[in-house]
């Protein structure tokens, strides 16, 4: 069965893209969905949570730019059912090199094609940029999840990103279904948090029901390299990402049912 390819993307930094990618991928693995986490960000946050970066010999750059067999690059993780296609700083060069590549928007898809039948889901952790790597990963995606933090800039960034996505959609580069907007770092006790949430509700955008609360425990999880379900992980974060996983599964399966009906005509 062909993997569902979920891009976790936003043009604003610090909204929880990597944290969401890691914990959504972990949640899906816990739900018995065999999952590949593709770290497409040169900051390598997702990679560093599972491996010491010095230990990474091959990464996404080698797969896309050098044609290295993707199976030689994928690493297993300590989470049962979750594999990682790692990133290092070399991925920063990828964007420059993709400029002169023929059919560059298809490169990420083509690089992952041998693995599509081996996973239920492939999660793309994308950098906060609108560059060739992001376009290529978005082009490969079948679903799109856009995190935004509960701030005015976060809200504006999410709207701008979605407008840009519409341009790509009209150019037939992007065909992914928008699974939803995920509100992160939410503080129910602050007025700005409530205002942003209210504005998102009124925007008509497809929001996830679950909201990820702002917790210092999340920072502790990152510092201690923990994922949901680990000893010492934050209970509220566990609960939020567990429920997000269920919502994603529901929305993905609904989208796939629609695609199936559409394909049958």
């Amino acid at each position: 069965m062909t993997a569902e390819r979920i891009a976790v993307a936003a043009q604003k930094g610090g909204v929880g893209k990597s944290f969401t990618s890691i914990n959504l991928a972990t949640g899906l693995a816990h739900a018995s969905w065999r999952c590949l986490l593709v770290d497409a960000d040169a900051q390598a946050n997702s990679t560093s949570l599972f491996y010491a970066l010095d230990d990474i010999e091959l990464d996404l750059y080698d797969v896309v730019a050098r044609g290295t067999d993707v199976r030689k690059v994928v690493l297993s993780t300590r989470v049962d059912g979750l594999d990682l296609l790692p990133s290092t700083l070399a991925v920063a060069r990828l964007d420059h090199e993709m400029i002169s590549m023929h059919r560059r928007e298809a490169r990420v898809f083509e690089a992952l094609e041998p693995l599509l039948d081996e996973y239920s889901a492939i999660i793309f952790d994308l950098p906060p940029a609108l560059n060739a790597v992001v376009i290529s990963a978005l082009s490969a995606a079948t679903s799109l999840l856009v995190p935004t933090d509960a701030s005015e800039w976060g809200l504006r960034g999410a709207k701008m990103f979605l407008e840009w996505g519409e341009d790509l959609r009209q150019a037939r580069v992007l065909s992914a279904d928008l699974l939803g907007i995920l509100l992160t770092k939410f503080e129910s006790g602050t007025r700005i948090g409530r205002e942003v949430r209210g504005e998102l509700y009124q925007s008509g955008l497809p929001l996830f029901d679950v909201v990820v609360p702002k917790r210092t425990g999340a920072e502790r999880m990152i510092a201690s390299r923990l994922v949901i379900g680990d000893e010492g992980s934050d209970e509220d974060i566990n609960d939020a990402y567990g429920r997000l996983t269920l919502e994603v599964i529901q929305r993905v399966n609904d989208a796939r049912t629609r695609r199936g009906r559409h394909a049958k005509g």
């Binding site: 069965m1 928007e105 298809a106 150019a171 065909s175 209970e235 399966n253 394909a263």
Partner: protein
Amino acid sequence: MTTRNRSTETITALLSSAPALTPVPDDEGGKGGDDRPVVDPPRVDDYDDDDLEAFELVADAPLVKPRRRREPEYQTVRINRPTAKILRAQWLRARSIDPMISYTEFATVCVQHGLRALKEQRERDAE
């Protein structure tokens, strides 16, 4: 130990009975790849053999001046008007796939591909 059990139990309780991935028909596999538009090559009739007469260039040398470098060894390609019209039409089509591609980038890639193809053809002819 209590924390570990609680964290694991939270996730396990939530996700242990989650549904599996829904299958979709085979054509879904092409989404994101084969389903996307491809730049149509110009028709053979659109080419004028004279367009190729000046291709005495080195196939792998850079065609445009590298920015921020002190490398003067670049070459300039002159393109005649019919070829330029074809190139521009193809660039407009290419922009429907990649809205960010510039004309210079596109033309450079096309000419470089053309030069390499011509070089390979000449090598085959010489054998």
